[in-house]
Symmetry: C2
Amino acid sequence: MSKVLVLGHKNPDTDTIASAIAYAYLKEKMGMDTEAVRLGEINNETAYALDKFGYGAPRLVSRVSEEVKQVILVDHNERQQSADDIQEVQVIEVVDHHRISNFETADPLYFRAEPVGCTATILLKLYKENSVEIPQEIAGLMLSAIISDSLLFKSPTCTDQDIQAAKELAEIAGVDAEDYGLAMLKAGADLSNKTLEELISLDSKEFEAAGKRFEVAQVNAIDTDDVMNRQKELEPLLERTIADKGLDLFVFVATDILNSNSTALVLGKEADTAAQAFRTELQDNRLEMPGVVSRKKQIIPVITEAFKG
Amino acid sequence: MSKVLVLGHKNPDTDTIASAIAYAYLKEKMGMDTEAVRLGEINNETAYALDKFGYGAPRLVSRVSEEVKQVILVDHNERQQSADDIQEVQVIEVVDHHRISNFETADPLYFRAEPVGCTATILLKLYKENSVEIPQEIAGLMLSAIISDSLLFKSPTCTDQDIQAAKELAEIAGVDAEDYGLAMLKAGADLSNKTLEELISLDSKEFEAAGKRFEVAQVNAIDTDDVMNRQKELEPLLERTIADKGLDLFVFVATDILNSNSTALVLGKEADTAAQAFRTELQDNRLEMPGVVSRKKQIIPVITEAFKG
């Protein structure tokens, strides 16, 4: 059988990288010829985790159809978040924990989505279901993914299953989840070496709803003022992205990982719709989002419903 | 928590009815308030299975949003195959073995699709994963579903997992799979009491690909001549359905369950495209399909690819 690439979403985060590695390894053990790849640069947080557990980053690609006929998607299913030429290959499996949208196949496939906080939590089940032992370093990466997606178990996306999975994985990895997790999140929240372009693209995802196209970028910070102090420089950059991509809305979210609040810059012709959806008004293009930390659970559904009217 | 309806597809077959019953029971045991419902009449084959295992048919509905806010889909995901008002409720889970198309959600959900021959085969795994015992009569219905979808293990959609699941379920149900299976298939292939309208709608599904809309109906027969002898009466009925629904193509397939061949009537403005996709030509609107028994694996992908060019 020819090789199958395992890939997470564009602007990869720790879950996407860790899950590509962990699932490629599992499928390899199950007899498939696989390789984990990535669709973008490794962020500071993921670099910290890879370094800690002594694992190299997957190979960087933007297209896949020249080298394989089949791929497996982890941590995403929407085609605009995937490889540029995803329509030209066959998706044979998906393991994900997001909404399902912009996804269709001609043939039946293995599609495993669960409403848990992290893809790695589902992968732990798949390791067990297939009786494959998890190597220590891969357990460490999977633990990192859960800590990242759940902001150390504080996000409303975090379920009991994620907490239980993290416990099991920490044991295999031989680390203390709380101590290691805080250090990893802090490494990821260090934005000092980031250009403005990186700030708005590091963890950014495009969405569609009711014919509207919008992008939501998110950065974690120890102090959101560090980010928002750069508002005057950020705005022209966001405006240019909106114009270049033909977006109706750009929401740039800075999340305070210690206090679990967010502040957003909201631009584009649907900015007021977005603000109203959060039952507030924009002040100088800013939106205060107390208690909001999860793009998936607290931002995307709110905007989607607003567009659908 | 308020009630959740568990529903299979329109024009229900044995897998859709059995899976709705079996999954509603499992979720009930896991603490959810559920009710299995159906979106159409029970066919002869399913009636035989329900009678054999002493189970009543689920309640008939066409809409769901007046009575519940949330539903679980089994054995389908495409919205045109679901309840008429499926867009007005939240789909919280899907268990299926078909391609994914025309399906999207605002929120993450539990979506379990596997490329096996029957939804009941996946449900057997879910019973095990959740350590719930399968009652004898439900095991019998699940076995019936596998026999039906696999044409007694002869369809190319049938996997080793389906055969293994059927073996386990036959043991719990206390029947011989081969003897019982052939009797059930024969009951289903008895078309003598069917009107022409019933013949073309009993097991019919609508699809979309590349902007084209097409419907593929399938009946099982001991002798396909019994069906094809009615061609002159069937054609005006198919033409009317095409006009009423604005279809580009209608494929009516009669499958010889003993010899594993099919003959189809192919009508609509894309009829020649369909015939070419099967590398043959229509003779008097008929298409001979030697070795073809599976709509899902041997018909839908072929037509879909042809439309996508």
